[in-house]
Symmetry: C2
Subunit: 233 residues, 2 copies
C-alpha cells in the first residue's frame, strides 16, 4: 500500500471540510484517529453483517453499496462519490452493517474511528444536527426510490437510474457521457431488473436515439426524452 503514496494530509483536510463547525481541538482528535487506505477495483470495503468500525469517507474513486436480496439478487442502495461519507447509517443506528460496500474503481478511503467521532458528536450539537439533516434527506430519497422501484415499469426505472447516475457523478467534457462506467449487471441491480432486461432496454433506448452506447460508455443524446420516459414510462 505504501507504494501508492497517498497524500494523507490532503485527504484529511478534504474530509474535515465535510464537517461544519469543527472546533480546533476536535479536529486534532480526529487527526489522531484518522486512517487512509488504497482500495482496488472490486475489493470489498465492508460486508453485510459486519460491525461498523468507524465513519468511512471516499476520498477518490467510486463505491457501490448493495444488499443481497432474495435468491442472491443484489440491490444497489447507494452510490458513493468523492468526497463523501458512506457506511455511517449502521454505526449511528448502533447496528451491524446491512449492506456491502465494493469499490467500482481503484479508490482511496479514509476512516475516522468510531468512538472518536461519537465523542465529538456528544458535545457538538451543530455538527450532530448537520448529520441528522443528511440522514433525513437520505431517508426521503430512499422513500422516493421505493416508489420508483416498485411502481415504474422497466423503461422508467432504467431511465431514472441513468439520470440518477448523471446527477451523482456528472458528465464528461463532452457534456453527454455519464461519468461512471457500470456493468450491465450493476445497472440492473441499481434499477431492480435482470441483467438481460437492462441490456434489452438499454439497446431499446439506443434505437430510439435517446442514448448512445459504446461499451460501458453511455452518452445521453436526449435528456428531455429520458426524463419523460422516467416520469411516464
Amino acid at each position: 500500500m505504501a507504494h501508492h503514496n497517498i497524500d494523507i494530509q490532503s485527504a484529511f483536510e478534504a474530509v474535515c471540510a465535510l464537517f461544519h463547525n469543527l472546533q480546533p481541538h476536535e479536529k486534532e482528535k480526529i487527526r489522531a484517529n484518522f486512517t487512509c487506505s488504497y482500495i482496488k477495483r472490486g475489493e470489498i470495503i465492508f460486508r453485510d453483517g459486519e460491525i461498523p468500525t468507524g465513519l468511512v469517507c471516499l476520498y477518490k474513486g467510486k463505491v457501490k453499496i448493495f444488499k443481497e436480496g432474495v435468491g442472491g439478487r443484489d440491490q444497489i442502495v447507494r452510490m458513493a462519490k468523492p468526497v463523501g461519507f458512506f457506511g455511517y447509517r449502521a454505526m449511528f443506528a448502533d447496528e451491524n452493517h446491512i449492506a456491502t460496500a465494493e469499490a467500482l474503481e481503484d479508490s482511496i478511503i479514509c476512516t475516522i474511528e468510531r468512538d472518536c467521532l461519537l465523542e465529538i458528536l456528544k458535545t457538538n450539537a451543530d455538527l450532530t444536527f448537520h448529520i441528522l439533516k443528511s440522514l433525513a434527506t437520505e431517508l426521503g430519497f430512499s422513500n422516493n426510490r421505493t416508489i420508483t422501484l416498485t411502481q415504474k415499469h422497466i423503461r422508467g426505472r432504467l431511465a431514472e437510474s441513468l439520470l440518477f447516475l448523471r446527477d451523482t457523478y456528472g458528465l464528461e467534457d463532452d457534456e453527454q457521457t455519464i461519468k461512471v462506467y457500470l456493468s450491465r449487471e450493476d445497472l440492473a441491480n441499481l434499477s431492480n431488473m435482470t441483467t438481460s432486461n437492462a441490456i434489452r432496454t438499454l439497446s431499446g433506448f439506443c434505437n430510439e436515439s435517446v442514448i448512445e452506447l459504446d461499451g460501458r460508455r453511455i452518452k445521453i443524446l436526449d435528456a428531455y426524452k429520458l426524463d419523460r420516459i422516467s416520469n411516464l414510462g
Copy 2:
C-alpha cells in the same frame, strides 16, 4: 373540538417522555409551543407538498403515511403508533412533505412548533443525537423494505406486512388477533400489490390455516408458517 375534552397535560407529559435529556427550561419552552387536536378517522393530518409546521406526535389512535405513486397507486411508507412522532423527516431535511398522513381511526395528535424545537436542538446535542439515531434506524428499515417490496413475491410481501403490523401494533388479548384493522386496500398499499391480489392472497393464507379472517380482523394461527412464507415465499 373542545367537547372532546383532551387531557393536554397528560399528552404533554407523554410526549416529553419521548425526549431524553430535556432540561427544565427546554420543557417549559415546549409547553408554550405545544398544541393538541382531535382528528377523526379518515381525516388528513398533512398532505404531500405541504410545508411542515412542526413535529407531530400521535398521542392516541393510528395513522398511515403514504405516497401517491404512478397512476394514483398509493404506497404506505410508515404506520405511526402512539406515543410516537411522525412527519418529522421533511422538517429536518428542510423540505416540504413528500407524503400524506391520514388517521386510520379517531386520533389525538400533538404538535410542537417547528422553530421552538429547532432552537432546542441547536444546543442540546444529546437530544439531537437521539433523533439522529432514530433516523438512522428508520433508514435501515426503509432499505430493507425496498428489497422486500421489489424482490419478494406477493405471498412473501403480504406475509411480511402482516408480521410487521403485528410487531408494530401488537396483538389483542387472545394473543392472536392483530391489533389493527385495515381495509384490504390499505393492506395492498402497504404490500405493493393490487387490492384484488391482497384479497386473493389473504384468502389463500386462510385456506392454508395460516391465518383466520373475520372481516378486517386478522388472526395469526401459525406465526411460524407465516414467517417462513415471508422469508422464502
